[in-house]
């Protein structure tokens, strides 16, 4: 029995880590720039495809399997720099526009990235094969748990802690938080908003691509995965509160663990449960658990 509880909890936390990694980038960007990036799922997908590519090249070059995570993470980080191109090339033109135009621009990004990914990598599912099993299993209270899952969980936690530290303990973080709360004032105080926005958006993209790369050994990269993921990310940020990293973490845990429990106890309910919670949150406490009050009127 304990082993089952361990399995359910750990698989829930694993799923939560995935959700957190998809939504972290979304939260960072929304928190500062008030842009809801519909393309966050697409960046995640981009990271996944590049991650597979990087590992395949590494394996073909004869790299020892134990270190496959190095090219994986590097690939995920590097491709995130495409965020700079997107921000400078597209997004900055709409900062002074209504938020909904910014949303539509990210929708345009979704469309473009879908075809771009498909044209580059084709439609067959891509995976890193058996690399997932390289680190073996851990035995926790009688349950065999893939060590790679623990790596993903640890990475999610590390990123959460890291972003938290970045935001609270560094000068950059202070500026970011100030810009989130008081944009004009921060600008008046001489902060180069252009540079800040570029940095923040790129940070958001890198979080997405890194997340995609980290998770891909456990899964596979498939066509249109970005479009599906945005729906899950959405549930997480609604529950956790838009713009809040803590909210993303808690929201992801809520969704991940409840889903895992539902699958074992009442599988029929699986996807519906998430939506029911989303609606309940939207009705009762629209700003989510940690979000700022949503503007009314």
């Amino acid at each position: 029995m304990t082993e089952h509880v361990v399995r359910v909890l750990l698989s829930g936390v694993f799923h939560a880590s995935i959700l957190f990694l998809v939504s972290a980038g979304l939260q960072v960007v929304f928190g500062v720039q008030k842009i809801f990036n519909l393309a966050c799922g697409s960046f995640y997908a981009l990271g996944a495809y590049v991650g597979v590519w990087a590992v395949q090249m590494y394996a073909a070059a004869g790299g020892p399997p134990a270190f496959f995570i190095v090219p994986l993470v590097l690939g995920g980080l590097l491709v995130g720099l495409v965020g700079v191109v997107v921000e400078r090339g597209l997004l900055r033109f709409v900062y002074d526009r209504d938020e909904t135009f910014q949303l539509l621009l990210t929708f345009a990004l979704v469309l473009m990235l879908e075809d771009a990914i498909r044209l580059t990598w084709g439609t067959s599912p891509l995976s890193t094969g058996g690399m997932y099993l390289v680190y073996g299993q851990a035995h926790i209270l009688g349950a065999a748990v893939p060590v790679y899952n623990l790596v993903v969980i640890a990475a999610g936690l590390a990123i959460a802690v890291g972003i938290g530290a970045l935001l609270t303990r560094t000068a950059f973080g202070r500026i970011v938080r100030a810009a989130a709360d008081q944009r004009e004032m921060t600008e008046a105080l001489g902060v180069d908003m252009r540079r800040l926005y570029a940095l923040v958006f790129t940070l958001g993209t890198v979080l997405g691509t890194l997340g995609g790369a980290l998770v891909i050994p456990a899964t596979a990269a498939m066509s249109e995965m970005g479009i599906e993921l945005i729906v899950e990310a959405f549930a997480v940020v609604v529950i956790g509160g838009l713009g809040s990293m803590r909210g993303a973490l808690v929201g992801a845990l809520v969704v991940g663990v409840l889903r895992s429990i539902a699958i074992s106890v009442y599988p029929e309910l699986e996807m519906l449960l998430i939506y029911l919670i989303v609606i309940a949150v939207l009705v009762l406490r629209p700003r989510g658990l940690f979000g700022a009050a949503a503007t009314a009127t």
Binding site: M112, L242, I279
Partner: protein, 325 residues
Amino acid sequence: MIGRLGLVAAGAAVVAAPFAASTYHVLLMLPFMAYGVVLLGLNLLFGYTGLVSFGHALFIGIGAYTGAFLTSTFGVRSLEAIVVTAAGLGAVVAAPVAALCVRYVKIYFGMLTLAFGMVFYTFVLKFYRLTGGDEGLPYLRPSLLGFGLEGMSKTDYLTGPYYYYSLIVLAVAAVVMWRIVHSPFGLCLKTIRDNPAKAETLGIGVGRYRWYAFVISAVYASVGGALLGAPIGNVDPTLAYWTHSGNIVFMTLLGGFASFFGPILGAFVYIYLEDFLKSLAPSSWRLIFGALLAAVVILAPGGLMGLVRAARRGASPRPHDPARA
């Protein structure tokens, strides 16, 4: 205002199309007319009230499924009954959804509507015993004004009687919407869009008016959905997916949300451009469309009608540009 002449010419072309254009292009006019109805409603919310819904495909789905249920489950074939029921159901569902959503604006409104759209999608997909799930539900050929027209082939029916029926529905919908936006109600909506605080001080119940706008737009979307479903013959959950909602906002923006006829123009251009691109660039048409949307958002937020106006006025800035925050 597109010139009276332009409007008359366009109208004449649409009326004459079944006699002059190829069968396929006439058939393409059917989703155009259905989307035209949907977008008239969507733009009441977008252009006139300043709220962008990312979940209106929900109501398209309601309209389409109404037609499917009535024709295949209940044996009711009358398109009049379908349209009226769809409108009613759209209003009934919109009432609580709107009550919730209109408390919030901008991004939150968009997110809430997206959420509701996806909830509907998930329900329809999940409860397959009731709705057919991914297989969908057949939407059998509706009878028009009591005439079953079973003797005609489906294609002849669609390019003939059904075409003109849809056109009349679109025309009526347009006339009604014209009245609405030019009424005091419409004026209140525009005031709310431009300056909600001022509207409140003037005694306009902002929430209430937004609610009315939402419900009316939902009714229009449902009617459009009912018209959209019949030519397909089988209605399925993808009609309610969030990207479908995104596409209709795209159409509105493309045509020009600040104009009455803009969205209808947007629907026309979108449909024919999509058809053209799918044949020309089958592997990359989404890329091109995405780039087009980006270009419109960045360079021409007023859409095609905005460009036409700018060309007429010699590029002097418009006094009220809802595109700017």
